[in-house]
């Protein structure tokens, strides 16, 4: 990442940056003119990689997570070379949806996929990817959703200052020609030909297990070690780390690991509080991050943190990942009947955002985020109603007020709000 910082940002001469970038492969500078082909004959020409764009804040190369709302919350997208950790909701309905959006985005953009799972066959996961929404269809659906939301007291018209009457209205719906970030229809499947055209590698852990199950606990890093070797082989052979000079165009590797940390991987942190090999998961994340930083790849991991018994492990795992997003669905909890949450399906907590080549965090001001899965679209919205929780004890708190109080120590605030939400 440091090398990328040297050549990614800043305003050096394009010639030297171009030569350095061939080795590091993480830049988005485009050079115009015929001089480009003369200077770098060994490396391919610097063209931007499909499906990526530089961040407006720090020049980092970003890929879309498959959900434009989440991209916006993360500051434009997921940075190449980082890990997005999703803390699963209790019944794993919405986190698997986010996982599939990430993979579907990779297929649409032509990225290479690597899918690892201990529960489902990767081929089956790919068959269940959602279909992308085409522009005219999604615009029609979005308009009809907006009409449904007209409430009776919408006759209060907003008076706008006269100077702004001529400015165009802000589009909050699917933008028709967005090449970065697409919308997906969760009710339809991706067309088969798109899946077959795409390049993907699958890692299904039960197949890689040795044929006889022995009763003594195998080394807990066994499953993780095999996965790391697999990822390393793919990165090396396909040249994502610049090792083989690529004649063809550079591409991004999207890695998706499902249910990491569950007992199906051979790890027992979900089963006991004092487990023997409690460091295998953290070692795995550390080595994975090293692999990602030296290659053109982005990784999504879903982890059932609600099952992890030792809370210290959760905080270590959070520190070792770059971006952490927690999902909390309302199914089965007392909040399903709370009128405050009747429009939503769950809460989204942005627990951590990385500081890549930056001194400050790129956190949005809005903390009360909820998501809902409409018939087709997955939207994330701020809870705009008054956030007071009326329980039997008539206790109420205003997270907005807390936000001002704890604005300085943001990381602790996230955990505080999470705990408070849990209590109520």
């Amino acid at each position: 990442m440091a090398a990328a910082a040297d050549c990614g940002t800043g305003a050096g001469s394009t010639g030297s940056i171009g030569a350095a970038a061939c080795k590091n492969n993480v830049t988005s500078f485009q050079r115009k003119g015929p001089r480009a082909s003369g200077t770098d004959s060994g490396c391919s020409r610097l063209v931007s990689i499909a499906g990526t764009r530089p961040s407006v804040r720090n020049g980092q190369l970003l890929v879309s997570t498959g959900l434009p709302a989440l991209d916006q919350l993360l500051g434009g997208g997921l940075a190449v070379g980082t890990v997005l950790l999703i803390e699963e909701d209790k019944y794993n309905t919405y986190s698997s949806l986010l996982f599939k959006f990430f993979l579907a985005e990779g297929i649409i953009n032509g990225h290479t996929l690597l899918v690892a799972s201990a529960k489902e066959d990767p081929a089956d996961i790919l068959q269940e990817l959602p279909a992308p929404l085409l522009d005219d269809n999604c615009k029609k659906d979005f308009d009809e959703d907006v009409c449904n939301h007209k409430t009776p007291d919408s006759n209060i018209k907003m008076k706008i200052a006269w100077r702004y009457q001529l400015l165009p209205k802000m589009e909050s719906g699917p933008v028709s020609s967005s090449r970065f970030g697409h919308y997906y229809d969760a009710s339809k499947r991706m067309p088969q030909e798109l899946i077959e055209e795409s390049k993907w590698h699958g890692f299904f852990f039960p197949e890689k297990l040795s044929s006889t199950l022995t009763t003594e606990p195998r080394s807990l890093t066994g499953g993780y070690r095999k996965l790391l070797q697999f990822i390393q082989n793919v990165i090396y052979e396909e040249g994502f780390d610049g090792s083989n000079p690529q004649k063809k165009q550079k591409n991004i590797l999207r890695i998706g690991i499902q249910n990491l940390g569950s007992p199906l991987w051979g790890d027992d942190i979900c089963c006991t509080e004092n487990c023997d090999n409690s460091h295998s998961l953290t070692k795995f994340l550390y080595v994975l991050r090293g692999l990602l930083r030296t290659s053109l790849s982005a990784c999504i991991i879903t982890m059932p943190t609600h099952l992890i018994q030792n809370k210290a492990v959760i905080s270590r795992v959070t520190n070792l990942s770059d971006t952490v997003v927690g999902l909390e669905s309302f199914t089965g909890s007392g909040r399903e009947t709370n009128p405050l949450y009747k429009d939503y399906h769950g809460l989204i907590h942005i627990r951590q955002i990385p500081r890549l080549n930056n001194l400050i965090y790129d956190v949005s001001d809005v903390k009360d985020l909820a998501f809902k899965l409409k018939r087709k679209l997955f939207t994330i919205e701020c809870i705009t109603k008054l956030t007071s929780y009326g329980t039997q004890g008539q206790k109420y708190l205003l997270p907005g007020h807390l936000q001002r109080k704890f604005a300085i120590n943001k990381n602790r605030y996230f955990r505080t709000l999470h705990n408070l939400n849990k209590t109520y």
């Binding site: 199906l264 018994q309 009947t337 008054l386």
Partner: protein
């Protein structure tokens, strides 16, 4: 209840000391046996004779019993014991090659959890319940149903949570006043989890009698009706406007609103082009000497 429990996959029956689940397990086994499925039973907690009692001869002949109770550690060195212990037995069931729907009953999963490491057990259960194709290949997927009895008081939240996350359906037994009920949580792969409560009783011949609701005499007094939570109560400020306030708000002209009067005032030159005037009262310490601004510095 039958539709939920009849689906393929892992079904956990969680019982407790007050509401035992072995009779429900036996009732479900009897139902599958009468449907013509083959039933494999891994018996760990009770002896084979005790387990088979209550079943009539036709059902008994269809049960394939793997006995781990009599000699779990294979001390008697006879050829009857299962190779590889209970885990080997589970593995052997994974590798069956006969076609047809199969029900596998584990009695009980608690015994297996106490004797085997949890991750290995979870992996074996997952392999058992997700058999989509025979190892020989070719034939279409046959549903495999795995019924497991789990005594939830014996285990901590860790293993219970891990097993619940693997299960396609979870049946928690409870009840009131002698009437048993089953809270069924079913998680189909692509759908939202659904919950339902079913009151039932097991007849002496191990058939399942489903009932509509709790018995009348045992119905508890209806709880005092709690009003739905109203988030707009107990606030320190006012969310609604009264009529007079609304009228006042509507008639207010905003400062940057370009109304017609303002437009006319700007278009018509006023009688006095009085631009703003500045009134300045010099203070005692103010320096009025424009030439040397640093005069008061004493340097």
């Amino acid at each position: 209840m039958e539709s939920v429990v009849a689906q393929a996959g892992l079904v956990l029956l969680r019982d407790s000391v007050e509401w035992e689940g072995r009779s429900l397990l036996k009732a479900l086994i009897k139902k599958s046996a009468l449907c013509g499925e083959r039933v494999h039973i891994l018996g760990c907690e009770v002896s084979e004779d005790e387990f088979r009692e209550g079943f009539d001869a036709s059902v008994n002949s269809r049960l394939i019993y793997h006995d781990v109770f009599r000699d779990p550690l294979n001390w008697s060195q006879s050829g009857e014991a299962l190779p590889g212990g209970p885990l080997g037995a589970l593995q052997a069931m994974c590798r069956r090659t006969d076609p047809g729907p199969v029900t596998i009953a584990l009695d009980s999963l608690s015994w297996l959890l106490l004797h085997l490491p949890c991750p290995a057990l979870c992996q074996a259960l997952c392999a058992l319940s997700q058999q989509h194709s025979c190892p020989g290949g070719g034939s279409p997927a046959e549903p495999v149903r795995v019924l497991c009895l789990l005594h939830e008081e014996l285990h901590g939240p860790g293993p219970l949570g891990a097993l619940s996350s693997l299960a396609q359906a979870e049946v928690i037994l409870s009840g009131t006043m002698g009437q048993a009920s089953a809270h069924i949580l079913s998680r189909r792969p692509q759908q939202h989890p659904t919950r339902q409560t079913q009151w039932f009783s097991i007849l002496p011949d191990l058939s399942l009698d489903l009932q509509g609701g709790p018995p009348l005499e045992s119905q508890p007094h209806p709880e005092p009706h709690t009003p739905p939570v109203d988030p707009t109560a107990h606030m320190t400020f006012n969310l609604h406007l009264s009529e007079s306030e609304r009228a006042a708000k509507d008639s207010l002209t905003l400062p940057f609103q370009f109304s017609s009067e303002k437009q006319q005032a700007l278009l018509r030159p006023g009688p006095r082009q009085a631009t703003g005037r500045i009134f300045y009262e010099p203070d005692a310490y103010d320096d009025l000497d424009q030439e040397d601004p640093d005069d008061d510095l004493d340097v």
